[in-house]
Symmetry: C2
Subunit: 370 residues, 2 copies
DNA sequence: CTGAAAGCGCTTACAG
DNA sequence: CTGAAAGCGCTTACAG
């Protein structure tokens, strides 16, 4: 009790267990458990002895045992297409922050570049008895897995992309409105010959963006050139390749490249520069996502800010709410976006980062909203 | 057996256990365990029945129970200062890839921006019985934690930064040589009035880089201006602020800013541009790390390639080896770096990415190497 | 307020 | 080749 520690740090390798603590404190393991968890049913005196014993022994409860017994672990599973992609890693940081705040850990799984849902990753997460799952790149191919999760009553949330007709929680932005705004911005600045270099059609976010672009085109009766290049990968290589095809097509050059994300825009900018053309004088360029490099000096990419970290946090909060009450109706949280006008379209200074003028909107949909 | 599945997907919520499988197959749980794990001691016929039963029931072994019983989990812990920072997230992707290859999962912990080792993060990892730990931002303040890990015989590896005098495995690059090379490159291109905007002195990597820069200066008998601005944060804000102070100091302007990483260089480039100066004509700029944005069109930052993903993989491999044989002597794996000459210093074209000419070196140190 | 005991779902000696 | 049983380290009714 108040003698010297029987076994201090620096001399042992076996980890102390609850039984060790109980023995040291002279109580039962039950009492030790109650005491350490601050539950009633143990006298103040015993509690003090238990806490002291735990301290002395450097006791760390084995969360495997605890989770096994309780039938639930304090672990969330996060499935990412590519963690090396800052888009996802920033979202992951929001998830980890929100999870940590509630004393949960996060398992990170890489689902691979094909962006199909790897059933194997989900299986691994289930075997670890994750309390809930977060999906970032849901595509139709993953539907059987989602059905199985519903079946097993495992709570999950979708972020960024959503499966049509899947009645599950979702966090994202209003991609369609944002796309409309940036396309309209382009037209307000006198551009009339747009080419759209969008992301893949399997992504619901890309679909929404395309719908927004098209709506803006129609509203101004603008004709789209090179419709065959609209769909493609969300990479700078894809942007560079498609932009090169446009520039080498030998037809009238476009005066703006509307890109489905900033990586595509970066590649497109490279192609434009390589062809000896200037941005924005000859060809304006706009992206989407507001990646860190978009605001780099000399670069100044006009784009749409997407609150990635906030999306990760909101998704995690939604997941916790669903874990607490699985009977909640499916909800969508739509976070605000923002038009970032910079050098590559619409800004007449070479410095960057003028406050966007897009409307900022945030709202929650429930089925009742229609 | 060949009748219809008793309980197919789509109708149940309780998860199948090994006991369920054993009952379904008409064997003991021991036999079921052996069968599923491919161990000898069960007839082919029984084995087939067991596998079929597991399939029918959608059995997923509970890894919590398995790990509890075996006393070891298939989980690695990765401590990152900031997962939203692409530098770390790319390394994390290497770790996850290597871990996945060996059927291990990765717990990601955020240790916070102060970059001190959060003992709490380590505690959480230990409670989950992690088989090994990977540290990316070890600083002296974390030493007690490392000592405790050694005490508990928990295997771990340091990446990027290392604690002086800690006899533990390490993966990194030869920061000192790389820094020497890029500084020498600068001087070869006729620059004579350098300012160094380095990272924080608490980072062993920053210390090494600084030593390399200084050695190159001394070799050419070049004088360093603004030594008071050498140490600072590894952020673009810090780069912008320090560069502004240099440009507004009213003394002879430098002709090159040697930056401790690409973020600092990006901020410095912004400051130079804002002050109406041109890069590289008026002031050259070099960075370190070769972040994705460094090769962006129009930007073209001269820097040093650091193989982040390979470092993550190598560290994980080292960790596995140590998990298998804890008695191995501490080892250091030094991966090759590469000078990337681009627009901001040394390249006379505006296009980027000329193959570096730095020597590429890779080697393994053991104490025996001296 | 306290203790003895069952049980979470596995694995693994140990007998048959 | 197979089965009965102990045990990993916790939590939680259940008796005293």
């Amino acid at each position: 009790m108040d003698g010297p520690p029987r076994r201090g740090a620096g001399s042992r390798t076996r980890r102390a267990t609850l039984a060790d603590v109980a023995r040291e404190a002279g109580v039962s393991t039950a009492a030790a458990s109650y005491g350490l968890n601050g539950l009633p049913g143990v006298s103040d005196e015993s509690c003090a002895r238990i806490l002291a014993a735990a301290e002395t022994l450097g006791f760390r409860p084995n969360s495997l045992a605890r989770s096994l017994r309780k039938g639930k672990s304090q672990v969330l599973g996060l499935l990412l297409a590519d963690i090396a992609n800052p888009y996802y890693s920033e979202m992951a940081s929001g998830v980890i922050a929100a999870a940590t705040r509630r004393n949960h850990q996060v398992f990170l799984m890489h689902t691979g570049l094909n962006e199909e849902l790897h059933a194997g990753a989900v299986a691994a997460l289930l075997q670890h008895q994750c309390a809930g799952l977060l999906f970032t790149s849901a595509v139709e191919a993953g539907r059987p897995t989602f059905d199985e999760l519903s079946d097993l009553a495992v709570p999950y949330v979708q972020v960024v992309r959503r499966l049509a007709s899947l009645p599950a929680d979702f966090v994202g932005i209003d991609d369609r409105s944002a796309a409309w705004e940036i396309a309209d911005h382009v037209f307000q600045h006198g551009r009339t010959r747009p080419v759209i270099l969008n992301g893949p059609a399997v992504s619901s976010a890309s679909q929404e963006r395309l719908a927004g672009y098209r709506a803006a085109l129609e509203a101004r009766s603008v004709t789209l050139a090179h419709p065959e290049l609209v769909d493609g990968e969300l990479s700078s290589e894809s942007g560079r390749n498609r932009a090169s095809m446009v520039l080498e097509a030998g037809e009238a050059l476009p005066d703006v490249l509307i890109c489905g994300n900033d990586m595509i825009a970066l590649g497109a900018l490279g192609a434009v520069t390589e062809h000896g053309l200037r941005t924005p004088e000859d060809i304006a360029i706009v992206g989407f996502d507001n990646m860190t490099f978009a605001s780099a000096p000399l670069l100044g990419l006009t784009t749409v800010e997407v609150p990635r970290q906030a999306m990760g946090q909101a998704a995690t909060e939604l997941l916790f709410e669903r874990m607490i009450d699985p009977s909640l109706p499916p909800r969508s949280v739509i976070l605000p976006h923002r038009l970032m006008v910079r050098r590559t379209c619409g800004s007449h200074t070479s410095s960057d980062l003028r406050p966007g003028k897009g409307r900022i909107s945030s709202r929650i949909h429930t089925p009742a909203d229609g």
